[in-house]
């Protein structure tokens, strides 16, 4: 009886295997593929995407610029991924994970039976190797600092062939999110290069395609210098759709190098490219007119995570010796002066004239696009020159007969606003603010500098008075932006790298941010971060102005196009895109 049932099991197992082998011809034995929930599409075809500059390298550890990351993202995969639609984490190469009670230990269980794009199997050894490379200080990886928590780098250990354990020095609320974007590298290809010390030159654009291997939906096919990069479908990709077809649907992706946004718009309009990601509102109006005629659609996704702001130089300049600016800092450091400036700025005009109405006015640093973290209680006062004048007068400023403003010592109020010459929108904002402040009697000039020269002044020499800048968070969670709000932070723009907090409210922000970093409960974190937003809105170290909407476009023939407000806006689901 037992033997008969054994043979019955064996034959049914055999039949089942045969059935599986016939119906899912592409699934290899033992592969634990992830099933995606997208509408089904057809295989085949290629799409052309414009890139604003050439990628500099295809090495995920060394890549620092956006363009390289865009291309690398199509060729690699991470352990835990942040879904661009929900802004929450979801499983990727790690099928599931457990967190220890104290929040310091994460045990990730990898999907089994997956292969790199060259057919070699992936397991925990690759994960260990990857993290060793990211954490190696000699590689100077820009992503290393993400993995240093509580002053100590993350400790990575192998538990078994498909389980990896991460030990953190302290509980970290955003721990799951640090895995997003950390590409898992093939040990079998890169180990020897790494041991030989040549890692810094590996995986550049000129590396032959056969020496790449990744877990992304596409793999390298061809690079033509100065013109394009072509990626082809990865036959070993670890996702499949509900019908069991292995993703991606597309055969090829062509990244075309088109050096400026205007040129990208032109070529999209002419039909050379299929997807246009994040362009400005002026071009939206131009493209809108020909939507139906030329067979494409525009999408206005509402506010993203970018926030533009005006801020003043609040640095301690005694060491640097800039007496001119130091005199003016007496004004900048007076809260009422900053509040007056904030009251005088015409945010409506900024939205209308700079962004053609496709932006949201801001009074705090979190945009309405970040639904999980925005504090809706912050007041949104309209522009009021009267209130601004009142504030200035209460601070001791007075108006002369011709309307110009003088400070309590009789010095006329005059300063300059820096803006980046490469960003047309921010330069326009600076000009509008100049006019607004002119109505308050302030003599403001706009100095347009090239981006790196501007950063040098802001963060190295502190040789500036005011500046218009913008920041885009790579993630909705507040922790990645800590360095902006911590007084000791290097990007605490108005007064970076303070030895100890210069003001009471900055000390309070420090305390709240440190606390939210280690609080694991979302509701408690939100409460803490709400308080941070309120302090920023009250003390206006940065006068928040507007957040541009995310605008993307795609040809009608591209199916499953579901753009999101987090980078990469149009291509986050590239494996699900198909052609009608």
């Amino acid at each position: 009886m037992a033997r008969a049932s054994l043979s019955m099991w064996a034959s049914s197992a055999f039949l089942l295997a045969l059935f599986v082998a016939i119906t899912c011809p592409q699934a290899l034995a033992g592969e634990d593929l992830m099933v995606t929930e997208n509408p089904l599409g057809r295989s085949g075809g290629r799409i052309v995407i414009g890139l604003r500059s050439e990628p500099k390298t295809l090495n995920p550890v060394l890549a620092a610029d956006d363009t390289s990351r865009d291309v690398i993202r199509c060729m690699t995969a991470d352990l835990i991924h942040i879904s661009r639609e929900t802004l929450k984490t979801e499983s990727a190469l790690a099928k599931s994970w457990n967190v220890s009670r104290d929040g310091k230990q994460y045990t990730l269980h990898l999907r089994q039976g997956l292969h790199f794009s060259d057919g070699q199997p992936m397991n925990a050894d690759d994960v260990l190797f990857t993290f060793r490379i990211y954490l190696d200080e000699k590689n100077h990886s820009p992503q290393r600092d993400l993995l240093v928590i509580g002053g100590k780098p993350v400790d990575v250990r192998k538990v078994d062939e498909y389980t990896v354990r991460f030990n953190l020095a302290q509980p970290y609320a955003a721990a799951e999110r640090i895995f997003d974007g950390l590409a898992i590298l093939p040990a079998h290809l890169l180990e020897s290069t790494y041991q030989g010390g040549g890692f810094a030159h590996s995986w550049s654009l000129t590396t032959p395609a056969s020496q790449f291997a990744g877990l992304g939906p596409f793999r390298m096919k061809e690079y033509v210098p100065g013109q394009r990069v072509i990626l082809e479908k990865n036959p070993f990709y670890w996702k499949k759709d509900r019908a069991g077809n292995r993703l991606p649907y597309l055969d090829e992706i062509v990244f075309l190098f088109v050096p400026s946004e205007d040129a990208q718009v032109v070529r999209f309009e002419a039909g050379d490219t299929d997807v246009l990601s994040r362009f400005s509102a002026d071009n939206f109006a131009v493209l809108e007119k020909q939507q139906t005629a030329r067979g494409y659609h525009l999408y206005d996704l509402g506010a993203g995570l970018e926030y533009n702001f005006l801020f003043f130089n609040l640095n301690d300049l005694s060491a640097k010796g800039r007496p001119e600016i130091a005199k003016k800092q007496a004004w900048f450091q007076d809260l009422r002066f900053r509040q007056a400036v904030s009251a005088a700025v015409d945010r409506d005009s900024i939205i209308r004239l700079v962004y053609q109405g496709r932006a949201t006015p801001l009074w705090g640093n979190v945009t309405p696009g970040n639904k999980l973290w925005i504090d809706t209680v912050i007041p949104h006062p309209a522009q009021s020159l009267d209130r601004a004048r009142q504030l200035l007068q209460s601070a001791g400023f007075s108006f002369k007969d011709d309307g110009s403003l003088v400070d309590p010592h009789g010095m006329p109020v005059e300063f300059s606003i820096l803006s980046s010459s490469s960003n047309a929108q921010r330069s326009k904002i600076a000009t509008l603010i100049q006019d607004d402040l002119g109505k308050l009697g302030m003599n403001v000039h706009v100095v347009s500098l090239e981006f790196r020269a501007m950063v040098d002044r802001l963060l190295n020499t502190y040789d500036y008075e005011a500046a218009v800048m913008g920041l885009v968070s790579g993630d909705a969670d507040p922790t990645p932006e800590m360095n902006v709000w911590l007084s000791s932070g290097e990007t605490h723009l108005w007064h970076p790298e303070q030895a100890k907090p210069a003001t009471a409210w900055e000390a309070e922000i420090d305390r709240l941010m440190q606390q939210q970093m280690v609080t694991l409960d979302y509701a408690k974190r939100k409460h803490l971060y709400d308080r941070v937003q309120e302090i920023i809105a009250e003390n206006v170290p940065v006068i928040c102005l507007a957040s541009p909407n995310i605008l993307v476009a795609a040809r009608d023939r591209v199916g499953n196009f579901r753009p999101a407000i987090l980078d990469p806006y149009a291509l986050w689901n590239i494996e699900q895109l198909y052609l009608h």
Binding site: A285, R352, A430, D435, H445, V446, V447, S448, A453, E465
Partner: protein, 343 residues
């Protein structure tokens, strides 16, 4: 005789245009920085002589504009109220040549009407007024830079041609060096180095000076050529034979012979340097906001959306043509006139 006519015509035209620009405050209805945030990118205002009933008005009038509710960014004419054009109106005060202040404008309309004869830009500023005020800056830049270039050219080219030898060699190699470097992009570097506290006018003067100093090479070569042949002429040799000093020869005999080349060069260089200022401001290196210059007027055309949607932003470039034509006519006439004088 024909040359004399040509020269006279060119000079008259130049004087006319230049005085329009000198008295920009009078001819412009608004000052160059007045924003009207309700009317960004308004098309040129049409002048009407016949009203809705078909009645003829000797004084032309305009209608107001209101935003088109259907087409975002477009305007429809609001025939409810008409604004006649008034001449010699009292308006915002302005300076003439920085010395006198006046308030009378050649033409304007009653507020809240706005007359944009050349349309308005992205901030709702009148392009005609900005063109006239901008001319002050751009033409001044061209003049100063041309003067600097030519002076340096006379100095260095004259010395090189007169003394010859190693001085000539060194100066000509220097000229090659200056002609070979891609100055445009290295000017970006210079701009970034400038300290923050210089005012707009100082930035402007500095850039003009740099343009002029860099542009000495071409006039220097031409003047050197003339000096080389001029110093061999009989009367110069005779004067030398009489014991004249180098300085006397240079200033009394040789340099006056270069007057033809110098004048032609000036007439040619002014439009070139005005165009150079336009290009520099276009690329972000010239005068900053909100000062108007011809370069800043045209720089908004760098954006594809402006280039393809707002045709009136091209008009400043079109208006430059008669001005430059006048300069080239003058240069041609001068060249022909002095050609007949020298060998």
């Amino acid at each position: 005789m024909r040359q004399g006519h040509k020269l006279r015509a060119a000079v008259l035209l130049l004087a006319g245009i230049q005085s329009l620009i000198l008295f920009a405050g009078f001819f412009a209805p608004y000052n160059s920085t007045a924003q009207d945030r309700q009317l960004p990118f308004a098309p040129p205002t049409r002048l009407h002589f016949f009203d809705a009933q078909g009645k003829f008005h000797a004084k032309p009038f305009i209608y107001g504009l209101k935003s088109d509710p259907v087409n975002a960014g477009a305007y429809t004419v609001d025939t409810a109220r008409s604004y006649p054009i008034e001449l010699f109106v009292h308006g915002a005060p302005y300076w003439i040549a920085g010395l006198f202040q006046a308030r009378i404008h050649f033409f304007s309309v009653e507020a809240p009407g706005k007359v944009f004869l050349l349309g308005s830009d992205g901030y709702g500023r009148d392009q005609l007024s900005r063109f006239l005020y901008g001319g002050q800056i751009s033409l001044l830049a061209g003049l100063i830079a041309a003067a600097l270039s030519v002076c340096l050219g006379i100095l260095l080219g004259g010395l090189a041609g007169f003394y010859g030898g190693w001085l000539d060699n060194a100066l000509m190699r220097g000229a090659e060096l200056f002609l070979a470097l891609p100055w445009l992009y290295l000017l970006f570097a210079v701009r970034a180095v400038l300290p923050l506290h210089i005012t707009q006018s100082q930035v402007f003067l500095l850039l003009v000076a740099v343009m002029g100093l860099v542009g000495w090479a071409r006039p220097a070569r031409l003047i050197r050529g003339v000096v080389l042949s001029a110093k061999e002429r009989n009367f110069v040799l005779a004067a030398r034979g009489f014991g004249a000093s180098d300085r006397y020869l240079l200033f009394r005999h040789v340099l006056p012979q270069t007057s033809g080349v110098v004048l032609t060069q000036i007439a040619l260089l002014i439009p070139q340097f005005v165009l150079a200022e336009v290009t520099l401001t276009f690329l972000g290196l010239g005068v900053g906001e909100p000062l108007a210059s011809w370069g800043s007027l045209l720089s908004s055309l760098q954006q594809y959306s402006v280039l393809s949607s707002y045709w009136w932003m091209f008009l400043p470039a079109v208006l430059l043509v008669p001005l430059f034509l006048a300069y080239y006519m003058a240069a041609d006439a001068l060249q022909e006139r002095f050609k007949s004088v020298s060998l």
